[in-house]
Amino acid sequence: MHAMFIYHFTKYINWPESESNTEFIIGVVGVTPLKDELQHIIKTKNINNKKVELIQLNENSEELRKCQIIFISEKESKSISKIYLATEKNPVLIISEKTGMLSRGASINFLVINEKLRFEISKSNVTSHNLKVSNELLKLASDVQ
């Protein structure tokens, strides 16, 4: 379910054009079944007309800067500050799943409200990574900061 949300987010977020990137890279920090879910999705789907590569990361990985999306699992939430600093000047969408993560650098944070999956967005964190977010996505968010 989270993986499908992430896939849909890519339709509403604009990454700056880069000729060097032939692949769209999603990094996953922490052990989470979401990686398998994403793996399943990218078998049949491209993002922004690019093949999708999925990589496992930790907070010290050099590949952090190569990613277009970084998902930080709940258990690895503590690493967000370090990841945010490491990718501050890169066009990376940081997605988390723990309360309070927007104030610590996440661009999108998953929430479960009334048994339904919701997400909140930090518009400033998105734009600080040189990304553009569509108003449509902002409307669907349960909270915009």
Binding site: M1, H2, A3, M4, F5, H8, F9, K11, Y12, T32, P33, L34, D36, E37, Q39, H40, I41, S73, E74, K75, E97, T99, F110, L111, V112, I113, N114, E115, K116, L117, R118, L137, L140, S142, D143
Partner: protein
């Protein structure tokens, strides 16, 4: 007569089947969980899917699997189900029996639940008629265009009121947002020498960027409930059901939504024969609902709604009977309610609502000056006011859901029902403890035939334990203990109907289920068991058998398995086992029905050509002829079920260009 050898063989067949099916994951494809459905959804649609936990644990199976059963559109599509009975009888705890006049009604956990005890909603709209609060399961409830069916297998009175005493069944149809297409569904069923059903439905839906969404669904059906011939003797008349179990049903469901405002309309017309009679009944309903959602600062939603239900229930199809019985009713229910939902944060959320409803009934096409007993007039009006609240407190240690409803009726007075639900999750285990009070609100005629009638009250305790084996499979066990005090009991003596509050009844037992879902496989096996709990109602009692109630078996087991053999070719196999049941016939003689195994198989091809599905199936393959037994001692022979039925289904879906 029960042949023990045959029974043994049947048992062996059944358990070999279970074991074979349980082994399939070892030999199956072993692929990842099914995301196909989710991949077809937009982000807006994904936002409406219920989840329970963070990404690490949530997938296609809900951890609330024990007490809440969810049946998805895809499960129905590939199951070969012919009608709502086929779908619901596979759910733990749900059974069917006969009411009167060829009507099939629902039972829950061993108890007869036909009159106002199990709430049936279509898109949140109550489908009961309000004269007796009955439901008629006669091929007219739609099984196509369904998004999903949510079944709360326990009381829901705090939120849903006086018809939700034992369970809530909510059929959620596809709306314009879900269904940007035209879909035609047809099915034909053939019994031995008789058409079981001829059904066609058409659904058209679409949505637009300006927030407008429309879906129209229409269905027509004609069929027969049974092809049996029962030989009479000196004291019993012969009954030829081939000529006297006709049913027909037409339904129209319209859904219009513009931004935050929704308009729903349901037209439900169905009729049925009465065996060995020259008359039948027709039931007609028009149900309207307008709903508007006002969002205040994202966290607070206020939802005002108006409902109007106009009905002609239990109207005779042969006009000559108007003068005999003078019982052609017209009823209406007007309702206004206001619900507020406040999601303070991830931990606290609250729901609060008020509801006012006005019931009206009058004699329609009456040829004499018949009046209601309650007021001596040809029209009667009642009203009801309710306040309810529920909180959802997701603390770290556990989740607590307390709720309370207060309701006051202008005749039967006030009712208060609380509930409390505690959930604790430990790793893959989920433990849920529930205490629910619930009630059955007396219907218009319950009051009219006994102005001293009081609501019956239910006290329900449940423990549910579930274990998520992995993202594909979950096992659950639910224990229940139900006490019903002052049950409202129907009695009939020389055609004089009467309702009265008896002492008490109830049941206790357990339900257990294992589910496995993946891209190729959809497998479930469940088992339900009940025994009576201090039943003092003679009408439900089986003389000489204190461990069982009329009509419903102590044991029910279901195996349901769908497999995609290739991308398009699928096959479903289902088996339902009912242990012995008891009933009283028209001569008030006790009889036993031996164990029954209902075996069904459906094979189909998805996307034979673009958008076209075809399937053929057989139900009750071994022609066991399940009988629908009257669940209260009131002088009706069992209604013989249809027996072996061959069916063919065709679905064509044409998607609109995006």
């Amino acid at each position: 007569m029960c042949n023990k050898k045959i029974l043994k063989l049947e048992f062996r067949r059944f358990f070999v089947l279970i074991i074979a099916c349980l082994n399939f994951p070892l030999i199956g494809y072993g692929q990842d969980s099914s995301k196909t459905n989710l991949e077809e959804l937009s982000l807006e649609e994904l936002l409406n899917i219920k989840v329970t936990v963070s990404s690490g644990k949530q997938d296609i199976l809900s951890d609330a699997a024990g007490v809440v059963s969810i049946i998805t559109s895809e499960e129905i599509r590939y199951s070969g189900a012919r009608d709502m009975i086929d779908i619901l009888r596979k759910v733990p705890g749900i059974d069917f029996g006969q009411d009167v006049e060829n009507i099939i009604g629902v039972g829950m956990r061993g108890m007869w639940a036909q009159e106002g005890k199990v709430l049936l909603l279509i898109d949140g709209l109550e489908m009961h008629e309000t004269i007796y609060s009955t439901l008629q399961f006669l091929q007219h409830y739609p099984i196509f265009n369904i998004k999903q069916i949510e079944i709360i297998r326990g009381p829901g009175s705090v939120i849903y009121g006086g018809n939700a005493e034992l369970a809530v069944i909510n059929i959620i149809t596809k709306k314009g947002d879900d269904n940007k297409s035209i879909t035609l569904n047809t099915q034909y069923g053939q019994l031995d020498g008789l058409t079981a059903r001829k059904q066609a439905s058409l659904s058209i839906g679409n949505s637009w960027k300006n927030g407008l969404s429309i879906n129209i669904f229409g269905m027509i059906n004609e069929g027969n409930l049974s092809n049996h011939y029962i030989e009479g003797n000196d004291s019993i008349m012969s009954i030829n059901y081939k000529d006297s179990s006709k049913v027909s049903g037409n339904m129209l469901i319209g859904h219009f939504k513009f931004k935050q405002t929704e308009l729903k309309y349901i037209f439900d017309e169905h009729s049925h024969d009465v065996s060995n009679s020259d008359f039948g009944y027709k039931h007609l309903s028009h149900i309207f609902n307008v709903k508007h959602t006002i969002k205040i600062k994202e966290k607070l939603s206020i939802i005002p709604q108006l409902f109007f239900k106009s009905q002609f229930p239990w109207n005779y199809t042969n006009a000559s009977h108007d003068s005999i019985y003078n019982e052609n009713y017209y009823t209406s229910r007007s309702e206004a309610n206001l619900t507020a939902q406040y999601e303070a944060n991830q931990v606290y959320s609250f729901l609060m609502g008020i509801r006012y409803l006005a019931d009206h009934a009058e004699f329609y096409k009456s040829t004499s000056n018949i009046v209601f007993n309650y007021n001596g007039a040809s029209k009667v009006d009642y009203n009801n006011f309710a306040v309810f609240t529920q909180a959802n407190l997701k603390w770290k240690v556990f989740t607590l859901v307390p709720g309370l409803r207060f309701e006051k009726h202008n005749v039967y007075g006030a009712v208060i029902v609380p509930r409390i639900n505690l959930t604790k999750k430990i790793g893959k285990w989920n433990l849920e403890l529930q205490y629910n009070e619930a009630f059955r609100a007396p219907s218009i005629l319950n009051i009219d035939l006994n102005s001293d009638i009081k609501p019956e009250k239910t006290y329900d305790k449940e423990i549910e334990l579930s274990y998520r084996v992995n993202n594909n499979s979950i096992a659950s066990l639910t224990l229940f203990h139900i006490d019903i005090l002052n049950p409202i009991i129907y009695t009939s003596n020389s055609f004089i109907e009467q309702y009265e509050n008896d002492q008490r009844t109830g049941s206790m037992g357990f339900e257990t289920e294992y589910k496995y879902k993946s891209d190729q496989h959809n497998f479930s096996v469940n088992y339900s068991f009940y025994i009576p709990n201090q039943n003092k109602v003679d009408e439900f009692d089986v003389e000489g058998h204190s461990n069982i109630l009329l009509a419903f078996p102590n044991h029910k087991a279901v195996v349901n398995y769908s497999i995609f053999l290739t991308k398009g070719l699928f096959i479903n196999f289902n088996e339902i086992f009912y242990s012995s049941r008891y009933g009283y016939n028209a001569q008030d003689v006790l009889y036993a029905e031996g164990p029954v195994f209902l075996t069904g198989c459906f094979i189909g091809i998805r996307n034979l050509t673009q958008g076209l599905d075809l399937g053929i199936g057989v139900n009750d393959a071994f022609n066991e002829k399940y009988k629908f037994i009257q669940a209260y001692r009131s002088g009706n022979d069992a209604l013989p079920g249809p027996g072996r039925e061959f069916s063919i289904k065709c679905r064509y879906n044409l998607e609109f260009k995006k």
